[in-house]
């Protein structure tokens, strides 16, 4: 592992890669500061720009963008109570209160330091966990992959913000859309309406850019009133000894919790930050301090969202399975650059695998260097009204969509999915399950077909696959757990009644 990691660092520390890592972190932070465009849309929009770069450099830049967007949102959350990204919503609660108490600098400093520590621990954990997991995953065959993907869908149903029925609809719609194009096994065209442009299917980047980018811009057009950005004095950025004493445990808890949540399908930075805040409030000696400027309410969630972002890389790099929309886009980015993530990636493309791991660490250093001295620049950026920004964002997406295949058809698809994204949001559908089902549709179909052929029509074939059986048991548990909740409530009510 050490050898690989050192090779990864040697690759990332080359001047060209270092420059693109810095550029990615800078653009990412800039986008993270702006409300509206999240990491998924940012990566989808900027992906075409990386096509001319060599794969290692491109992936390093994309990783920088991802970390930058995760990082940037916290600054505006603290200074002006506007979360740049959804994962910074929690930081608003106590971060903004700290700013109002004259401690904006410490809040920003702690957010940056907590993110840096968590990101570093996350990068180390990826290095440590990946190799054993890959050695285990090499034994996976089509049945294991099929059941693993099915487990992903089950977890999505349980964790999704929308109702299970709505999430189920999104999964089915995503699967159906993924089957548009030529069938990989028989070559039969499916749902192409005789259009040659659809034979290769619909581009993942176009779908993501439409749903998450254009859809978001259309949603933001509902409110164009200028934001008021008050002048908040930023004095000392470094936390005091007392701040450190209060924050050390939340940072470590947030890092561990965030990493584990990041591993889950449907998990990731946002969920991690919300859960970390709840945990910190729960374990605090005086929970009433939360919401009034408690530094633990900044340190824990900020650590958790960065560790969650790192954890989400594990299923992608080791199994080739994305767990959230950001990693789904990263998967398509890797494929665009001729890299197939999965258990064999470390063997076939070790420079990319370890390059990505090393770039996470380097990216975190870049972000620490960027975020603290440039706080003033990010605040100035916030003063640019959205009404000035949105035409450029739309133009950027139109050029990005066109440049995927040098075809206007992708621009049409961008508009279709942009409108769909806006409408689905208005109807309170969570589009994350749709994009994941869309990305996993083809692989899950292939795995199912191969599994059925391997079984030779005998369903007891599964009994000879202990890993598949284990994952199957996990699916049953994931589906059964929420059902236990009402059962628990009934027991509690029954006990209360008997006490009376």
């Amino acid at each position: 592992m050490m050898e690989g990691l050192l090779a990864g660092f040697a690759s990332v520390l080359q001047p060209q890669n270092l420059l693109f890592s810095l550029l990615g972190a800078f653009i990412g932070t800039m986008i993270g500061v702006l409300p509206g465009i999240g990491p998924t849309a940012a990566i989808a929009m900027l992906l075409p720009l990386t096509l001319g770069l060599d794969p290692v450099t491109a992936i390093i830049m994309i990783a920088g963008i991802y970390y930058g967007t995760c990082y940037g949102g916290s600054t505006t959350a603290i200074l002006v109570n506007i979360p740049g990204e959804a994962q910074s919503v929690v930081t608003c609660i106590d971060g903004y209160q700290m700013a109002r108490n004259g401690r904006a600098g410490v809040a920003i400093g702690m957010a940056a330091i907590a993110s840096f520590i968590a990101g570093t621990l996350g990068a180390i954990a990826i290095g440590l966990v990946s190799v054993p997991l890959i050695n285990f995953a090499i034994r996976f065959g089509p049945p294991e992959f099929f059941i693993l993907m099915a487990l992903g869908f089950a977890v999505l149903l349980v964790l999704s913000k929308a109702s299970p029925v709505k999430s189920g609809i999104m999964i089915c719609a995503g699967l159906a859309l993924s089957f548009v194009g030529q069938d990989a096994v028989t070559g039969v065209p499916r749902f192409t309406f005789g259009m040659p442009e659809l034979l290769d299917g619909i581009s993942v980047v176009t779908v993501a850019m439409g749903l998450f980018g254009l859809g978001e811009v259309l949603h933001n057009l509902e409110r164009l009133q200028a934001r008021t950005v008050d002048h908040v004095p930023i004095k000392n950025l470094l936390p005091t000894r007392e701040d450190w004493r209060l924050s050390a445990a939340p940072i470590l808890r947030g890092s561990g919790l965030g990493f584990l949540i990041g591993l889950l399908p449907g998990g990731g930075a946002t969920l991690a930050s919300f859960i970390s805040y709840a945990v910190e409030k729960h374990v605090a000696k005086d929970p009433s301090r939360f919401g009034k400027g408690a530094i633990e309410g900044v340190a824990g969630p900020e650590a958790a969202n960065n560790a969650g972002a790192a954890g989400a890389f594990i299923p992608l790099l080791t199994l080739g399975l994305p767990g959230n929309p950001v990693t789904a886009i990263l998967l398509s980015a890797l494929v665009l650059h001729g890299v197939a993530p999965g258990p064999l990636m470390i063997e076939k493309n070790p420079q990319i695998f370890w390059g990505v791991v090393a770039s996470m660490y380097v990216g975190n250093v870049m972000l620490l260097v960027l975020n603290l001295p440039l706080v003033g620049v990010w605040v100035q950026l916030l003063r640019v009204p959205y009404r000035v920004l949105f035409p450029s964002l739309i133009l950027f997406m139109l050029i990005g969509a066109y440049s995927i295949n040098n075809n206007l058809f992708d621009v049409v698809m961008l508009l279709v999915f942009g409108v769909a994204g806006y409408v689905l949001r208005k109807l309170e559908f969570d589009t994350a399950p749709l994009i994941l089902a869309f990305v996993l549709g083809q692989p899950i179909e292939l795995a199912l077909r191969q599994s059925l052929m391997m079984s030779r029509g005998a369903p007891e074939f599964l009994l000879t696959r202990p890993i598949a059986l284990g994952v199957l048991a996990a699916i049953v548990m994931v589906i059964a757990l929420p059902m236990l909740k009402p059962a628990r409530r009934i027991i509690v009510q029954a006990r209360a009644a008997s006490d009376d």
């Binding site: 999240g38 189920g168 749902f191 409110r223 950001v326 508009l415």
Partner: protein, 162 residues
């Protein structure tokens, strides 16, 4: 429009989408259990969509509350401004017009017009000439960045012999 009505309407829309797709894909072969055909999983997904849509319509409402932010959580919602529906409709129509114009007028001219329209639409004082000029300049700057600096081949337009 209430959440219940919106949910019912969305259920009906997905039901229609599922049934129409099943009709379009009716010819796709299901294959056998051992060798599933190209229609097996596609139709299974569409039947799932149809059944869940019926359930959604029957329930009349899903889990209501905060609107789901695409993918990664929820941001606090504020009510939409007056006239925003027109703004969104004009934006969508402008993008559509841009797509139709590109093959003839080329990317530069079409995007310049689009940017001027969008900038004018969004400006504090609607259709302010300065804002529209800003939009136009954005298109020119994007053209220089993408075509000249990054070498992205954007269509020149048949009108100019492209």
């Amino acid at each position: 429009m209430s959440t219940a009505v919106r949910t019912t309407l969305s259920g009906i829309a997905f039901l229609a989408f599922g049934i129409a797709s099943l009709y379009v894909g009716a010819d796709l072969e299901m294959g056998s259990v051992l060798v599933p055909g190209p229609g097996a999983l596609a139709k299974a997904a569409l039947w799932g969509l149809v059944i869940l849509s019926i359930l959604l319509v029957a329930n009349g409402r899903g889990k209501s509350g905060i609107a789901a932010s695409p993918g990664e959580g929820t941001l606090p919602e504020e009510p939409a401004e007056r006239g925003s529906a027109v703004r969104i409709a004009v934006t969508i129509a402008s993008i559509l017009a841009f797509i139709l114009a590109v093959p003839t007028l080329g990317f530069l001219l079409s995007s310049a017009v689009l940017m001027a329209v969008l900038a004018g639409l969004g400006s504090e004082k609607p259709w302010s000439p300065m804002a529209m000029l800003g939009g136009l300049l954005t298109a020119v700057a994007a053209h220089i960045l993408f075509v000249k600096a990054l070498g992205v081949p954007l269509p020149a337009g048949s009108l100019w012999g492209g």
